[in-house]
């Protein structure tokens, strides 16, 4: 009986967390639109900004990562870090989408012409 009671509260917690992740996913992704620019940041500071409309290949952060922009999509094609997680994150084009390279403290973010929810959070 005791074990059964415990399991019930465990299930409540699990259900609540799954629900919360679903709600957050919807909230954060709601109203997403095609972005116009990609912003490259190192340590949270902007270092480069490129238009998604112009194709090109850009070495970032002294060549630690290679940014490719093609047909309105941006992705990292190369990285000098051991795990290559940023390369695996694939192509981004919606406003607010971000590719993160933790070892090089680098982020590539899609931004649009007008402000989105995240800009409000930054303040």
């Amino acid at each position: 009986m005791k074990a059964k009671g415990k399991l019930r509260w465990d299930l409540v917690l699990i259900a609540a967390l799954l629900l919360l992740s679903g709600v957050l996913y919807f909230t954060l992704n709601h109203g997403r639109q095609e972005g116009g620019q990609v912003v490259v940041r190192v340590d949270g500071l902007e270092v480069e900004r490129h238009s998604l409309a112009v194709n090109g290949t850009f070495p970032l952060n002294g060549g630690s990562n290679i940014l490719v922009i093609e047909n309105g999509q941006a992705w990292l094609s190369e990285a000098n870090c051991p795990d290559h997680i940023c390369v695996k994150q694939g192509k981004i084009h919606y406003t607010g989408q971000v590719i993160t390279c933790l070892p090089n403290r680098l982020t590539v973010t899609v931004e649009g012409g007008e402000s989105n929810g995240i800009d409000l959070v930054v303040g």
């Binding site: 074990a3 009671g5 415990k6 399991l7 509260w9 465990d10 917690l13 699990i14 967390l17 799954l18 919360l20 992740s21 679903g22 957050l24 996913y25 954060l28 940041r41 340590d43 949270g44 795990d83 997680i85 695996k88 994150q89 694939g90 607010g96 989408q97 971000v98 993160t100 933790l102 070892p103 403290r105 680098l106 982020t107 973010t109 995240i118 959070v121 930054v122």
Partner: protein
């Protein structure tokens, strides 16, 4: 501290380190922070069998040793933030009698990911918040799996 307790603690740390290494060999799904958290097995085991101080010691030593051996400075900062928050949550939840081992594990998994996001936020800015829903989900699922295994271990292994 009794010799037996020291020995069990040492074994838990060794086990946590090996589990961290095993996990590092599993290919990443491509989202930073999504992982199983195998090493948390040893921490949860210690939390139930030895006590919260011992579990805290095992977790923090594990993070330090694994980062020195297999990682880099950046990984130490993320791991430490995740482990500290995760540990705090698990210790608190362990004290609530209504919750079982799976709830403790799920809390640990989710808070580990939240700790890492907060560290990433501090280092790289608020854009990383977009990872939160995915990491919340993955932390919950991983926590359930680890919690079920930990419950079996706690039941079967006598120390």
């Amino acid at each position: 501290m009794k010799t037996k307790k020291i020995t069990v603690m040492a074994m838990c740390i060794a086990l946590a380190m090996i589990l961290s290494y095993v996990e590092s060999q599993i290919p990443s799904p491509g989202i930073p922070g999504v992982k199983l958290g195998l090493a948390n097995l040893a921490v949860i085991f210690a939390l139930y069998k030895l006590g919260w101080k011992e579990a805290a010691g095992i977790s923090l030593l594990r993070v330090l040793l694994v980062s020195l051996l297999f990682g880099h400075v950046a990984s130490l900062m993320y791991s430490a933030a995740g482990a500290a928050l995760s540990l705090l949550g698990m210790i608190l939840l362990r004290r609530i009698p209504q919750f079982g081992c799976v709830a403790v594990s799920v809390t640990g998994g989710v808070l580990h990911n939240i700790g890492q996001i907060l560290m990433a936020w501090a280092l790289m800015g608020s854009n990383v918040i977009y990872y939160l829903p995915v990491l919340l989900f993955s932390g919950t699922v991983a926590g359930v799996v680890i919690g079920i295994v930990a419950a079996l271990l706690i039941k079967r292994i006598k120390i």
